[in-house]
């Protein structure tokens, strides 16, 4: 049970199934067990509707159009754009010219612009420099605070866990258990 606005940090050795867990919650892989959002079972919502509300950010961002702007279905939130360190100009950028870090921040922008109720974040700051790590953490926490969105956040960095987590769980040897912060 994840309360609105709560941030569950998930860690564990690589290959332990953290990403698989996020993928199962986003209903991207066949899985056992049930996930509910505001009392509604995942299977009873249309898949697209579920994933709009339970939005996942993959560890590696992927793009399918040439320019950044073409990947947004809704008008881009100005404030969000600025808070991630971009301006309107970025929508005209070619993805081939963006760095990995820029793409990761843009992927977060793309996700938050959908206004999901739950964030599934797979190492969202993995390829960012320290300045941008702080910036991205702040953007995510602000978003969660204003929309009361909950998050499941995969991270390996003990300091980051201290900074953002409201609870911390570890997957190890095919079991998941809570640890003190």
């Amino acid at each position: 049970m994840l309360e609105p606005g709560a941030c569950l940090l998930l860690s564990g050795p690589s290959g332990s199934g953290k990403s698989r867990m996020l993928r199962a919650i986003a209903d991207l892989d066949p899985h056992e067990g049930q996930v509910l959002l505001d009392g509604e079972v995942c299977d009873e919502l249309a898949p697209a509707q579920w994933r709009q509300q339970v939005g996942m950010l993959a560890a590696e961002s992927a793009w399918w159009e040439e320019r950044v702007g073409a990947h947004f279905s809704a008008p881009v939130d100005e404030a969000l754009l600025h808070s991630l360190g971009f301006d309107q100009q970025v929508l005209e950028w070619e993805l081939a010219r963006c760095s990995t870090g820029e793409k990761q921040r843009l992927a977060l922008l793309r996700l938050l612009n959908n206004r999901p109720k739950v964030l599934l974040l797979d190492e969202p700051t993995a390829s960012l420099d320290p300045n941008n790590v702080a910036r991205v953490e702040q953007v995510i926490l602000d978003y969660m605070h204003t929309t009361q969105a909950a998050a499941i956040w995969v991270s390996h960095d003990p300091k980051q866990i201290k900074r953002v987590a409201s609870c911390h769980m570890v997957i190890q040897n095919q079991a998941i258990h809570e640890v003190a912060l």
Partner: protein
């Protein structure tokens, strides 16, 4: 008709030329000699067999025999489509998708052409039905193979982009739309090119055959135009159906990308 009949001697001369080519390639160390001879023998035997079958069909005009031969052709074409895929769908889908698409495009169009356009009496006269169906199946088969091959390869390569779209709440259809259109295009372009180049670059085979057999050139041209149109329509719809079905099969009812439904040819 003023067809000059070929004697066994005439064919032997041509066969000797093939043997000559085989010897030359062996001398050059291309390692093709054996393959070449086997292929030449296969051509001879297979075409002779078809000749006997056609002769039988011509002598025994019956809808049942025609249906049997037509079904065998369809089954063989479906098998060929499956064989040409690098990544094909597991289970009955691998075979069924191509066969079904050819059935509803080539097969039904051939029936339509025989009954409505050509209007032969009876419509299943093998002289018209078999070559027509053969050309339809042969070309549709290529289009469907190309289309499906592109679809499955692109899906494998662009897996992360497809899933990124799913994660953003796109439906399976949106997530695969670019790959799907691209694959349909790939399947249909050869036929469009063939229409554009017909007569300028090459004389189409059927027309050539009819002219050799003594038909007036303009009659042969009209038949060739009909065939080109039918083949294009058959290939086009067949490819669209096959690629659409394939794209759908890549996802399950929860719109998850299921690449494990594909198996890769070793």
């Amino acid at each position: 008709m003023n067809l000059i009949s070929l004697s066994a001697f005439d064919l032997s001369i041509a066969a000797l030329l093939v043997v000559g080519l085989a010897i030359s390639t062996t001398l050059l160390g291309l390692g093709l000699g054996r393959q070449l001879v086997i292929a030449a023998i296969r051509t001879t035997l297979q075409l002779l067999l078809v000749g006997f079958i056609l002769k039988f069909l011509f002598d025994n005009l019956h809808l049942g025999w025609m249906s049997l031969v037509a079904s065998i052709m369809l089954v063989a074409a479906g098998y060929e489509v499956m064989q040409r895929q690098k990544h094909r769908f597991r289970g009955v889908w691998g075979y069924g998708m191509g066969t079904f698409s050819m059935f509803i495009s080539s097969f039904s169009l051939t029936l339509f052409a025989l009954m409505v356009i050509i209007g032969n009496e009876p419509w299943y006269q093998p002289q018209y039905a078999i070559p027509l169906l053969g050309m339809m199946l042969g070309n549709t088969m290529s289009g469907i193979s190309l289309g499906l091959d592109r679809l499955t390869q692109s899906a494998k390569q662009q897996r992360t982009a497809i899933e990124a779209r799913l994660m953003l709440g796109h439906s399976w259809s949106q997530a695969v739309s670019m790959i799907r259109s691209d694959s349909m295009r790939v399947g249909m372009i050869p036929m469009i090119n063939a229409m554009a180049a017909a007569g300028l670059v090459s004389l189409p085979g059927m027309m050539t055959g009819q002219i050799l057999a003594g038909s007036p050139p303009l009659e042969a041209v009209k038949y060739q135009i009909l065939i080109m149109f039918l083949i294009t329509v058959g290939t086009g719809f067949g490819t669209m159906v096959a690629v659409w079905l394939g794209a759908r099969r890549l996802f399950d009812e929860r719109h998850r990308l299921r690449l494990e439904r594909l198996m890769t040819k070793e």
